[in-house]
């Protein structure tokens, strides 16, 4: 990193911003309006009682057990967004090609669009809403904010969920290794350089 003037510059900017940026502005970007909407979904949708063939399951999401009835076809992604109103997790391609729907299942990142909700009874599911709070951001959320690791923000929650998982994975120290392990998260705005800078900042200042 230090041999690369551009990366070095990016990191300096990142660190300077981290020293001076407060957490409150991050809330809108990182968690969206979903936190305030959680629990506000209409009951008929939330419990799926009127759906023919719906099956009962209990999903454990962000540390809370959520008893539900879901159509077996419901992906984990649609269940989180439509049934539990946790809309921080985004639907991009819906085919495992973009990474916008990345969540953690038992601590590992997965594409929520390519797995069924009924397959995850008893699993520990973490979404962007469970990562930090507006007043106490996860360090990765703070780093994305400080390093300007997004533009439109649509891919951001998936990027952050991947980035947090990466911290516990087999990843070499350099930017190339980070880019390889982040290749499953597409950003059409092209914020990649700043995303890598944010991740490297957290890795170097845990």
């Amino acid at each position: 990193m230090r041999d690369d003037p551009q990366s070095g510059q990016s990191n300096l900017t990142c660190q300077a911003l981290l020293r001076t940026t407060g957490g409150s502005a991050a809330a809108a970007v990182m968690a969206g309006d979903s936190m305030s909407r959680e629990g506000a979904a209409p009951a008929a949708i939330a419990d799926g009682a009127n759906i023919a063939g719906a099956v009962p399951i209990t999903l454990r999401v962000n540390g809370t057990d959520r008893p539900l009835r879901v159509d077996p076809r419901t992906t984990l992604l649609d269940c989180l967004r439509e049934t539990l109103a946790l809309t921080g997790t985004k639907k991009g391609c819906d085919h495992g090609q973009c990474g916008a729907c990345t969540v953690h299942v038992n601590g590992r990142r997965v594409n929520a669009c390519l797995t069924l909700a009924v397959m995850h009874a008893g699993d520990e599911i973490t979404t962007i809403e469970g990562l930090g709070t507006p007043d106490a951001l996860h360090p990765m959320q703070a780093a994305f904010l400080a390093c300007d690791g997004y533009q439109c923000g649509y891919c951001t929650s998936g990027q952050i969920m991947s980035a947090v998982a990466l911290l516990t994975e087999h990843c070499g120290p350099d930017d190339t290794a980070v880019k390889e392990l982040m290749s499953g998260n597409i950003c059409r705005c092209g914020a990649y350089a700043n995303i890598v800078a944010a991740i490297q900042h957290v890795r170097k200042h845990p």
Partner: protein
């Protein structure tokens, strides 16, 4: 997505008994096992797969990696690609497998995708994935528009007048070079299938991709004991550096003594209708000096019967260079 009943059998025998009632284990199956779901759910959303029953095998005890009594390795059906790629024994003794797995998909998908699922990965041919188009693999007898259409990424080896779809797996290419054995539990009991016999050439029945029959459940894969002193390389060439299917790939397990090749296994990916082991290239290499000129000659032998389509003739030279370079890397 078509409606389906979701089943979670208590044990492997119950899973097999449920699936034994299926109409087929091939395209058009009305029952499917689901493990990682990364291929199946993708295709169910496209209505390419329309099972009436989906049988979840994730809770069955099929997720272990163990050394076998003969010194080989037993890999459970639901072992995730990530766990297999980073297993210390795989990294040390079967490096080509670890490299192939890590060259495939994304970190998220590798956390989901399983060993058995990867053996059953389906082609990325755009006509197969689009139900508005004819496709002999998806709907037998409707024709193959790829032969006169978009075929840049499709196969040059093992094709037929009915199908030129590429087998997309990286893992299977490494398994072919490692001479893996697939273990199946079916309604009649258990049996083993050499990986080279597991996938079928399209011929006139491209909807039949494997030798599996209704009720057959892949329980595990075994690898023979590691080849002492072998050098192993998986080289993958693609349109972008990461998260893309192979245009051409090569798996090499090579042993050199006294400057000569004493043993070699070669398989190609991205160019065949099935994971493409090349005994012809192996025969051309054994006993020869481990030198680039011989590597190139052997690679040309591997592609000797390649048949180009309108957009993919470049793959023949690309695969030839890919294998040549992989052999060089294995001797570097």
């Amino acid at each position: 997505m078509h409606p389906f009943a979701f089943l979670r059998p208590a044990d492997t025998a119950a899973a097999v008994a449920s699936a034994a009632q299926a109409n087929t284990a091939q395209q058009g199956a009305d029952m499917r096992f689901v493990a990682g779901g990364t291929t199946l759910l993708d295709l169910m959303k496209l209505n390419v797969e329309t099972p009436a029953r989906v049988i979840d095998i994730n809770r069955l005890p099929l997720n272990q990696i163990e050394v076998t009594p003969d010194g080989g390795l037993k890999i459970g059906a639901t072992v995730r690609n990530t766990d297999l790629a980073h297993h210390p024994t795989v990294q040390r003794d079967y490096a080509v497998l670890s490299q192939a797995l890590l060259a495939g998909a994304s970190a998220q998908l590798r956390n989901m995708a399983t060993t058995a699922g990867n053996l059953l990965q389906r082609t990325r041919c755009v006509y197969f994935r689009d139900t508005a188009m004819p496709c002999n693999k998806r709907e037998p007898g409707t024709g193959c528009p790829a032969i006169t259409g978009t075929n840049r990424t499709l196969a040059v080896l093992g094709t037929s007048a009915h199908c030129i779809a590429t087998h997309p797996s990286d893992m299977c290419v490494a398994m072919a070079a490692l001479e893996a054995t697939i273990h199946v539990q079916g309604p009649q009991g258990t049996r083993t299938i050499p990986v080279g016999d597991f996938h079928l050439l399209p011929g006139s029945t491209p909807h039949r991709e494997t030798v599996l029959e209704p009720g057959d459940l892949i329980t595990h894969v075994t690898l023979p004991p590691p080849v002492v002193g072998s050098r192993q390389v998986y080289l993958k060439l693609r349109d972008r550096a990461s998260y893309e299917f192979a245009l051409a790939s090569a798996a090499v397990v090579l042993t050199v003594a006294g400057g000569h090749v004493t043993r070699v296994r070669v398989a190609l990916g991205g160019v065949g209708t099935k994971p493409w082991r090349s005994p012809e290239a192996e025969a051309a290499l054994v006993g020869q000096p481990a030198h680039q000129a011989h590597f190139r000659t052997a690679a040309e032998v591997a592609l000797r019967d390649a048949k180009p389509q309108s957009e993919n003739a470049f793959k023949i030279e690309l695969a030839t260079r890919c294998l040549t370079h992989a052999l060089q890397l294995a001797t570097a």
